[in-house]
């Protein structure tokens, strides 16, 4: 049997940064992962965007923290995570979209976001070659950006190792023992563990892990496909988001990474519920058609690779963060709804502080993202 202060289940976008921030606070940290190494779940399928541009204050707060971490990463840790502060640009091609973006601006500004409306000329300046016909402008948040999920997760893994965290790869959690309103032990196919705090950062498998602690949580994966192109010289600055939908798809978005490659993703219609991660033949023709309609200049750009990953969805599009009723040492950091990569660093730093110091300043996050909320509505900028 092994003992830890904090035992994290899941070495992905959430678990690995959390392991680092906990270990950096001298907590004895273990990370259980059934895959062979870090980031093998959905981290590797993330496209890399990090934005604070959300409609929910708790998520905004967490992601602002992530942005600070990403922007300072090279200076602070001497590791290049391919961070590029290109901003996010939500484009509007009709009056209705313009109005809803402008309405949202008030909420976003009130939450402290650096975001504003820009006109069509400015949009074209930031993304030369974008279709001008009908373009009205968009909301642009210059502080947002993108980084490589793999290099970022690899960096956090390395930092966590150096800070003393122990990674237990290739181990599958098989059960938990609860007593007196606490999780006492976690069993895997290889070992038994005790810890003061257990964290469920199991991504697409979070509901299964939670059920071992007697908690039912509404996390259901659906799948999304993404792709990456060959690298070309920098030509566009922001992450472009087109939230229009058509008969085959919902929103889609793409950006040019610091390596010069364009990374893209689309929301399928209807949603593809389930845990399937093998590519489908419909994705490329669909996503590329929509990208070319928006951005004809991409026509000669070659697609290099595609993949398919899972969004661990909740009913309202917001994460579940908090202790369960069944066990007050079983912390959920789950249901990231496809945004684990951007939430992970900030949430890791915040949760480490909460675990280590019991910090009260983040109580509002726990209140807002409690797994016992009513799940009404849907996050507007999901």
């Amino acid at each position: 049997m092994k003992k830890f202060d904090v035992l994290i289940i899941g070495a992905g976008s959430i678990g690995v940064p959390l392991a680092y921030y906990c270990a950096a606070r001298s907590l004895k940290v273990g990370v259980l992962e059934r895959e062979a190494s870090w980031g093998r779940g959905q981290n590797r399928a993330a496209i890399g965007g990090i934005r604070a541009t959300h409609s929910d204050p708790a998520k905004i707060k967490i992601c602002q923290e992530s942005l600070r971490i990403a922007a300072a990463f090279r200076e602070e840790h001497g590791i290049d995570i391919e961070w590029r502060q290109g901003g996010y640009l939500f484009v509007a091609y009709d009056e209705e979209r313009e109005r809803s973006f402008r309405d949202l601006l008030a909420v976003q500004k009130a939450a402290g976001l650096d975001i504003d409306w820009i006109d069509a000329d400015r949009v074209a300046e930031l993304s030369p070659g974008i279709a001008r016909e009908g373009l009205r402008g968009g909301t642009f948040s210059p502080g947002d950006g993108f980084a490589s999920p793999l290099t970022t997760n690899t960096a956090f893994h390395r930092l966590a190792l150096e800070a003393g965290a122990e990674f237990l790869f290739g181990e599958t959690v098989t059960g938990m023992e609860l007593a007196g309103g606490k999780v006492r032990r976690v069993r895997t196919d290889k070992e038994v563990y005790e810890a003061a705090v257990f964290v469920n950062a199991a991504g697409a498998h979070a509901a299964e892990i939670a059920s071992m602690a007697g908690a039912e949580i509404p996390v259901h994966p659906d799948s999304h496909e993404g792709g990456v192109t060959e690298p070309v010289a920098p030509f566009m600055q922001p992450m472009l988001v087109d939230i229009r939908s058509d008969e085959e798809s919902g929103n889609y978005y793409f950006y040019q990474a610091s390596t010069g490659q364009v990374v893209f993703c689309i929301t399928p219609k209807p949603q593809a519920w389930g845990a399937e991660t093998v590519n489908t033949s419909g994705f490329l023709p669909l996503c590329v058609r929509r990208m070319l309609e928006l951005y004809p200049r991409l026509r000669s750009l070659k697609v290099r690779r595609t993949w398919r990953g899972l969004y661990p969805m909740t009913p309202d599009g917001l994460p579940l963060v908090g202790y369960t009723r069944e066990a007050d040492n079983f912390l959920l950091a789950a249901g990231m709804c496809g945004q684990g990569f951007m939430i992970g660093p900030g949430l890791g730093r915040i949760l480490a502080q909460v675990i280590a110091e019991g910090a009260k300043e983040y109580d509002f996050i726990f209140e807002e993202l409690t797994p016992y909320r009513k799940f009404e509505g849907m996050e507007l900028l999901k």
Partner: protein, 699 residues
């Protein structure tokens, strides 16, 4: 122009239109439709681009569309030079750093999705794919066969030498280029077969469809019930400093340039690896008028057929055993190669280093099966079989049977009650078997009558000599009881027709008869243009290449069926049964430099060619991050390039071993579409995409 205009075997390419194009502004000429890489080589250009990471010069490596090292700007757009056809007026440029996305901003007009359906999709049109498609069609299945090259036949089209094997089963004694034509004609005559040539399969999808990059200009989905993966093999890279310099490339790439495209890409080559591919590459080089400084082999024995090795040696090419390449150096291209003997641990003994002045180093270090689609198909639960090199690396002769056998296996999976002819399986097994024992021959004394002398002592699957002998006097002596048995002259009815001399793929049969006590007449095969006449003297060599005597040519005749010269020499009777070769190459070509010059830093060798990640970087990263998973190597960009990790992944086991990680414990990467990059306009079937990259300038 570095073109091969005269070749002893392959006829000159005719009917081609010469066109002008430019490279970095300089006017050049090439042939319409030939691959840009070949046109550039013909114009003396071996460096196509400078790598965006460090400006390193980039030339070809595979010439087969598998890697992406030959990328060049074609009218402003990066393209693989080895699979992009030349057209009049193309503006080719060095890709220096990242390319600029052309400002082609006209609204697209997608033509929509295209879908074809068939019972079976056959991926690959080489010998095994052609065999499988033909057999499946015979059984009544509808078949779509897709191949990434314009001409079917796979690597057969590069094989200008005669094939081993048995004549009745697999065209032994016929040259690969001719076999390909026969197979393709058969398949094209079948109404239920759709052939998609020049159209690589670029991905398999869960909904049981494959994406095809049709004619490298549009995107087609193929729905299928089952798959035959006959995608062949790709050449392995090996690790030595300088392995990325322009001028270091695969032996198969060399054969493509020389035998398919008739370009003379080199003046003098060094070959690394003594398998059949390396040995044949040496032969093809000599036939194309290219010198061969030698073949190095890290093992203590030749890896390929003994008859091939002997043939090469007696043309004047040394084979250096227990020797490896230490370093290849030069300013922007290969100028010299350094080799050294290895110790028992296969590490080079640097005090034995020798340098060679060469402009090209051919890597013939083995092949890796292109079986990715098969592994994916199995993971996805599709009905699939693999055949040919994708199943097991072997000779093309066995692949022909392998394809047909695979077709039966697939038919059974599809519910047909069919049984494969057991004899086919036996034949395939024999054809792909490794050489058997070496059995020395009894000495032959020249007599009054003609008789053959055999210089094949190693059991290999081969028998053309037995089938061409008009008197049936050559028979396999049944020691094993299969095609590997050695041929012997039985009886005394040799008519001196020289059919066996001409047909032998190993050039390992002579005919002789006594002229008088002192002299004999010996008929030898010769696959070069004999630039000498009766009365001239030539150095004749023994089986393994040792000089025997200089002899006078009596007469020369040409066997049209086998495209082989038969040269009759007057040889002293004492030596007549020893000679079998005619020296082709000047010994000076194989001499080493007076002193070796090299700076050996093995860790600078390139593993990932696309992203230029070195052996040292990878080993360090694996150690520092406790990596046990190929996927994590992408964090330093290894495997992230255009080729999709096709070339570097074969080297990963050695990298992990060097980092102290057991390769068997390493988790492999996930296979994903696309396997070949496809432009966005082609994916949506933009009509303007058809016809290629020259359309439009900056809008």
């Amino acid at each position: 122009m570095r073109r091969i205009t005269q070749h002893p075997i392959v006829p000159p390419l005719s009917g081609r239109t010469e066109v002008s194009f430019s490279f970095d502004g300089a006017e050049m000429r090439g042939f319409e439709g030939e691959m840009i890489a070949s046109a550039l080589f013909a114009n003396g250009i071996t460096r196509f681009s400078k790598h965006a990471k460090d400006g390193a010069p980039q030339g070809i490596f595979c010439a087969n569309g598998q890697c992406s090292q030959c990328t060049v700007l074609v009218d402003g757009i990066p393209k693989k030079a080895c699979i992009t056809a030349l057209r009049a007026g193309l503006d080719l440029r060095t890709m220096d750093g990242l390319p600029v996305l052309p400002a082609l901003d006209a609204a697209p007009a997608p033509a929509g999705k295209r879908l074809l359906s068939a019972d079976v999709l056959v991926i690959g049109g080489g010998p095994s794919g052609l065999g499988a498609a033909s057999e499946l069609a015979t059984q009544g299945f509808s078949v779509i066969l897709a191949d990434d090259k314009a001409g079917l036949g796979g690597k057969l089209v590069l094989q200008t030498h005669k094939f081993f094997g048995s004549e009745e089963d697999c065209y032994a004694g016929t040259r690969g280029i001719d076999i390909a034509a026969k197979l393709e004609a058969d398949l094209r005559s079948r109404p239920t077969v759709t052939i998609l040539a020049n159209s690589p399969v670029v991905g398999l999808y869960k909904d049981r469809r494959a994406g095809v990059f049709q004619d490298y200009s549009s995107y087609l989905l193929v729905a299928f019930k089952a798959l035959v993966v006959a995608a062949g093999a790709r050449e392995r890279s090996i690790v030595f400093p300088g392995n990325d310099l322009p001028g270091v490339y695969g032996a198969g790439a060399f054969q493509t340039l020389v035998n398919r495209d008739r370009v003379r890409p080199a003046g003098r080559v060094l070959i690394v690896g003594s398998g059949n591919v390396g040995l044949i590459a040496a032969y093809h080089a000599l036939q194309a008028g290219i010198e061969v400084a030698g073949i190095v082999e890290i093992l203590d024995k030749v890896n390929g057929y003994k008859v091939h090795a002997d043939k090469i040696r007696r043309m004047g090419v040394p084979i250096h055993l227990s020797t490896t390449v230490v370093s290849v150096e030069g300013e922007g291209r290969v100028e010299r190669a350094t080799v050294a003997r290895v110790g028992a641990d296969f590490k080079p003994l640097l005090d034995t280093a020798r340098g060679y002045e060469v402009d090209t180093v051919l890597v013939a270090a083995g092949l890796s099966p292109c079986d990715e689609f098969y592994r994916q198909a199995r993971d996805y639960g599709f009905l699939a079989v693999k055949a040919g090199d994708a199943e097991e690396i072997a000779e093309a002769s066995s692949a022909l049977f392998g394809g047909r056998i695979a077709a039966f296996a697939l038919a059974k999976l599809l519910g047909r009650k069919v049984e494969v002819d057991e004899s086919w399986i036996a034949k395939r097994e024999v054809l792909k078997s490794k050489p058997g024992d070496k059995i020395p021959r009894e000495p032959v004394v020249p007599g009054e009558k003609w008789r053959p002398v055999f210089f094949c002592e190693e059991e290999i699957p081969c028998n053309p000599c037995t089938t061409v002998c008009p008197s049936g006097s050559i028979k396999l002596r049944p020691r094993r009881g299969d095609l590997l048995d050695l041929p012997y002259f039985q009886g005394d009815d040799c008519r001196g027709c020289t059919a066996c001399v001409a047909a032998c793929p190993g050039l390992a049969i002579s005919l002789l008869r006594r002229i008088d006590e002192a002299w004999s007449e010996v008929a030898l095969p010769y696959e070069f243009e004999p630039g000498f006449e009766p009365g001239d003297r030539r150095d004749l060599l023994s089986m393994d290449g040792a000089f025997v005597e200089a002899a006078e040519l009596l007469k020369k005749t040409f066997n049209r069926r086998y495209k082989t010269w038969i040269l009759h020499f007057k040889v002293s009777s004492a030596n007549a049964a020893k000679v079998i070769g005619i020296r082709v190459q000047d010994p000076a070509a194989a001499r080493s430099l007076p002193s070796p010059q090299f700076s050996c830093a093995a860790e600078d060798a390139i593993v990932c060619r696309c992203e230029r990640v070195t052996f040292g970087e990878l080993v360090r990263f694996i150690r520092e991050n406790k990596v046990t998973d190929v996927n994590q190597l992408k964090a330093i960009r290894a495997g992230m390039g255009a080729c999709g990790s096709k070339t570097c992944s074969a080297l990963y086991p050695s990298v992990f071993r060097a980092a102290g990680v057991d390769p068997a414990s390493v988790t492999l990467g996930t296979l994903r579409p696309l396997t070949v990059e496809v432009p966005m306009e082609a994916l949506v079937n933009e009509p303007a995409a058809v016809g290629g990259p020259s359309r439009g300038g900056p809008a």
